[in-house]
Symmetry: C2
Subunit: 261 residues, 2 copies
Amino acid sequence: MTQETTQVSHDGPAEVRARATGPTAGLAPGYTQANLIAVPRDLAYDMLLFAQRNPKPCPVLDVSDPGSPRTVLAPDADLRTDVPRYRVWRDGTLVDEPTDATPHWRDDLVAFLIGCSFTFEAALVAAGVPLRHGRNVPMYVTNRECRPAGRLHGPMVVSLRMIPESLVDTAIRVTALMPAVHGSPVHVGDPGALGIADLATPDFGDAPVAEPGDVPVFWACGVTPQAVLMASRPPFAITHAPGHMFVTDVEDSEYQLLSQR
Amino acid sequence: MTQETTQVSHDGPAEVRARATGPTAGLAPGYTQANLIAVPRDLAYDMLLFAQRNPKPCPVLDVSDPGSPRTVLAPDADLRTDVPRYRVWRDGTLVDEPTDATPHWRDDLVAFLIGCSFTFEAALVAAGVPLRHGRNVPMYVTNRECRPAGRLHGPMVVSLRMIPESLVDTAIRVTALMPAVHGSPVHVGDPGALGIADLATPDFGDAPVAEPGDVPVFWACGVTPQAVLMASRPPFAITHAPGHMFVTDVEDSEYQLLSQR
C-alpha cells in the first residue's frame, strides 16, 4: 500500500516533508518525528485529557488551534499534506489511507502531535545500546488499559527493543531523561506480563530480531491513540499511517532533559 | 488574613488535609503538594491546553472529572474542603478567601492540580543545596508572556532561590530531573532579564535572603494560573491561596525521573 522512496540521508526536515511518500525511519536524522492524531474540536478535550492521563503512550509535543494545519514544531509545514501517508477513521474504522489529507480536513479539526520513539533511538545508539530491529520497530497491543478520559478508552500499545542484558540499565536511564518521547520503559522481561502471547507476530511493524542474552524491553508507543480510536469509535479522526511520521524542525536534543544546558 | 497553625511534623497527608488552616510549607514532609485551579467545564479545554503549552509554569499532575471533587493523587480527599484556604475569582477579581469552598463549588467545575516547587526543594536539600528563604519563597510576575491558549493568556510567575554560585549547576541538574514540578530553572542571574526591577519586593511570598556569592536562580511557578486569571478575566474560578497547597498522598520521589527504578 505504501510506496518506498530512497531519500539521501542529508535531506533536512523540510525536504523530507515535501518529498517522502514512504516510512520516515532514518530520514532527516537528528530531527524529531511525531505521531499525528486530529480530532474534531468536540472531542479535543477528551483527547487532550486522555494524553494528560496517559503521558507515557501519549506525550503531547504540540496541539494546533481548531482548523489550523499549523504547528510551532515546524512553522512552514502544512499538517494536511506534509505527512507521507495518512489514515482516515470513521466510527473507529479505517476508511482511507491517502497521501494528502486536504480533502478530508475539516474546519473544526484539532491536531495533536505526539512524541515518537525514533527520537530516543538516536540517544540509545549514542549511549552504546545497539538497535536490532529493521526499518520498523515491532509493536504490540497489550492487556493494559489506559486511564480513560471522557469518551476515549483503549489499550496501551508498546514498542519492543531486544537489548543485551548488560545494557538494559543504560537504556532505562537514557530514555528516562526523555519523558517527551515516551520516557523510561513500561516493562522489562516476560512479554506475558503485558498479555503478549507471541513476540514473533507483532500487531504492527516488523518481527523482532534477537541475539543470545538479549532481554525484551517495552516502551509505551505513540500508536496507542490509533488503538484508542478502534476501541472508542469516535465519529471522525485523521492520523498518520504507522511509520509514516510528521518530521518536525525540532532537534532531538531538545527533548533530552540534561542536554539543554 | 490567614491563620497559622503549628503542625507536628510527623502528621501525614490525610492529617494535614483535615487539620491545616495555614500555609503548608514543611507539612507532611516527603509528600507532594499541589497548586489548585478549578474552572467551569466550558473553560477547561483552554486551561488544559494552556498548561500543555506552558509546561514549566503549569505541569499538570491530575485533572478531575467535571463536578467531581476527587483526584487520583489522594483518593480519600475532597478538593472542596481539603485545601487550607481557597481563593474565589469572578471576572478575574478575587472575591473571597474561604477555608471551605463547598458553597462556591459548581457541578461543572473541573479541578486542575499543578506541580509545586516544594517537591523539588527536598531534592535540592538532599543534594546539598541550601535553601535561604523562610516559610514562603519569593515570587515575581515577569515580563515573559506565556504562550496563550483560547481565552487564556498572561505573564509567567517565577519563584526565586538564592544559590551559592558553586552549586548552581547542581540545582539545575537536580530540578531538570523533575519536569512534573517545574523542571529546570527558566533563568539564572540578572533579574532585569525577566523584567524584575527589585528583588527585595516580591509580588507574592517573603523577601529573599542572600549570602555573599549567591546567584539568583528563577524557576517557573505554579502561581502563574492566578496571574493568568487576573489577565484573562474568565467569569469564574476557584484556586488555592498562595502557600496554602493541596497535600497529596504521592511521595515526592514519584516525580524524580531517575529514582523510580
